[in-house]
Structures are given as structure tokens and as C-alpha cells.
């Protein structure tokens, strides 16, 4: 059961990361001058979304016990 739960959590994280990348790429396509700023903010948002996946892998199995 643990494994299925982690899989579902990572599913959500994958979709979230894809959406962040989508937004960043569309912004960069509209305005190539802002590429550096968009890249920095995209990486910040990626770290927060990634954190949920890491919580699912490392923290939840221990908490469930």
C-alpha cells in the first residue's frame, strides 16, 4: 500500500513540475529578454514542488508506522 501511495504522490508532483516548466517556457517564448529572470523563478518553484515529492518518499513511510 505504501508503494501505491508514493506512486500517486509522485504522479501529482510530476504534473506540477510539468506545469511549472510549461509556464516558464511560454513566458520565455513571449519575451526572450526575460529569460534569466524566468529561469531563476522557475528553479525556485521547482524546488518547492520537488519538496512534496521528497516528503512523500522520505517522511511519510516513517510517519505511517
Amino acid at each position: 500500500m505504501n508503494h501505491i501511495g508514493i506512486g500517486i504522490a509522485i504522479l501529482g508532483v510530476g504534473i506540477g513540475l510539468g506545469l511549472i516548466g510549461n509556464g516558464a517556457l511560454q513566458g520565455m517564448a513571449r519575451q526572450p529578454e526575460a529569460m534569466a529572470k524566468l529561469q531563476v523563478n522557475m528553479l525556485i518553484a521547482l524546488a518547492f514542488a520537488e519538496l512534496m515529492g521528497l516528503l512523500a518518499i522520505f517522511v511519510l513511510p516513517i510517519m505511517v508506522k
Binding site: H3, I44, L46, A47, L51, L54, F58
Partner: protein, 258 residues
């Protein structure tokens, strides 16, 4: 005295049985390596610090790092951000070199949860200290109280205070777990992928390290995670030393070299 190396096993099994990375003395040795690299690089660069224009490569690289951290601090915290550059620079150097060592070695200080928790506690403790220095203890606690609500909404101020307190404690968890998960997760992913190429065709000696193909992604996370830790510390510092009593409409320009 044993120099511990990570246990091999599947990701979930290792998490379930609470397998640790390096032992205490193993971590000691690896952290000594990280410190040796940092001090060595800075000592190499220090030789040319008297010149007006750096001609040798080590000093130029260190200058780039310094300009990057200074720009980060000033653009995130504000014009008074320059006095936090030493602390953020220390964090960045330790975390970046610690992550970089993790690319080539079995463990690294930043692949250990206790080390990362210590770094996060120091970082958040430093943020609280700077907040108390800027506004006084009572003024710093007032930041947790949230906005001034009038009328019947005054009743939820204790709830807001509690939520802010918990959120502050969660910052420790998130900072440490993010760094640990990215670096140690890189190790475990490489182990898992190496398992794919073990004992091919039933032969004992044919092991292809498929995990080596993860190196570019790991390099990206090495750089990004060092930046994220320092950036988040700067953001928390900016929130806490907001200087809301000295607001003026002239913002300092980010540092740029002339």
C-alpha cells in the same frame, strides 16, 4: 573507528529500516575533505587579492562567486543586505562543495540528514537572531502575530500566531529535507539504476553502471540546491528585517560591476 558507507538495498527498504549514510567518523572525514577544498580554493585566490584587476584564474572565479552572492543578497533583502553576505557566502560554499563531493564519492556531508538539519537550524536560528537584532525581541514576536485585525476577527489572532509558529518550525524541516532528498536521492537513484546493469546475461563479472547516465541531472541539482538554500535564507532574512518603519521609495540597485 569505522568509516561507514551507505547500505545497498532498494530505496523503500532502506527508508523503512532507517538505514543511515556515513557513520560519525566517516562524516568527519568527508567534511574535512569539503573544508580542505574550500580553504584551499580560497587560499589559492587570496594570493592575488592585492591587485586591482585579478589576473589569475582562481581569484577571478572567487570574484564571480562573490559578485553572485552579493547580487543575490542585495536584490532579495534590499540595500541593507550587504551585511549578510558573509553568512550566505559561507552557506553557499559549504553546500556547493559538499554537493560537488557527492558527485564523486559514496557519501558527502550534505547527503546526511543530520548535517543538513544542523545547517537548517543554524540558518533559521540566524534569521531569528537577525530579526531580534533589528526589531527587539517583542517586535520580532509581533511579526508572528500577523496583520492587525479589528472587531470580531481579533479572536483568531492566537490561531494565526500558532500557525505562524508552526510554519517557522516547518522551515527547518523543509530546508533540511530538500537538500537531503536531492543529494541522497541522487545516490540512491544511481544505486537503483546500477542494479539494472548488474550481472547481465547471468554473468558474474558483467556489471554496466547504468547509473552514470544520471550525472548531468545530478550536476544540475548540485548547483540548483545550493542556490535554493541561500536564496530561501535571503528571502527569510528579507521578511524578518523588513524595515517596515523605514520604508522609502528609493530601492537600492542590485550590485553590478563597473
Amino acid at each position: 573507528m569505522e568509516f561507514g558507507f551507505p547500505q545497498f538495498g532498494s530505496l523503500l527498504a532502506a527508508t523503512e529500516e532507517g538505514a543511515h549514510g556515513a557513520s560519525f567518523w566517516g562524516l568527519f572525514i568527508y567534511f574535512g575533505l569539503v573544508l580542505a577544498i574550500v580553504v584551499g580554493a580560497l587560499a589559492l585566490a587570496k594570493q592575488s587579492f592585492g591587485e586591482r584587476v585579478f589576473k589569475k584564474r582562481p581569484a577571478q572565479l572567487v570574484e564571480q562567486v562573490y559578485l553572485f552572492i552579493e547580487n543575490l543578497c542585495i536584490s532579495t533583502i534590499g540595500p541593507h543586505g550587504r551585511k549578510y553576505v558573509p553568512m550566505i557566502m559561507t552557506f553557499w560554499l559549504i553546500i556547493f562543495v559538499g554537493n560537488f563531493v557527492a558527485l564523486f564519492m559514496a557519501t558527502s556531508p550534505t547527503a546526511d540528514l543530520s548535517f543538513n538539519l544542523a545547517m537548517a537550524l543554524i540558518s533559521i536560528g540566524y534569521v531569528q537572531w537577525e530579526g531580534i537584532k533589528a526589531h527587539g525581541p517583542l517586535g520580532h514576536l509581533k511579526h508572528f502575530a500577523g496583520p492587525k485585525l479589528g472587531g470580531a476577527l481579533i479572536l483568531i489572532t492566537p490561531l494565526l500566531f500558532l500557525i505562524e509558529l508552526i510554519s517557522e518550525l516547518m522551515k527547518n524541516v523543509s530546508l533540511s529535507l530538500r537538500l537531503f532528498g536531492n543529494i541522497d536521492g541522487g545516490h540512491r537513484a544511481v544505486e537503483a539504476m546500477n542494479g539494472l546493469g548488474m550481472h547481465l546475461f547471468g554473468l558474474d563479472w558483467l556489471n554496466i553502471p547504468v547509473g552514470a547516465f544520471l550525472m548531468p541531472i545530478k550536476l544540475l541539482t548540485v548547483v540548483v540546491q545550493a542556490l535554493i538554500f541561500c536564496l530561501l535564507t535571503c528571502v527569510y532574512l528579507g521578511m524578518v528585517t523588513g524595515g517596515d518603519h523605514e520604508e522609502d521609495h528609493s530601492h537600492g540597485d542590485p550590485a553590478h560591476a563597473h
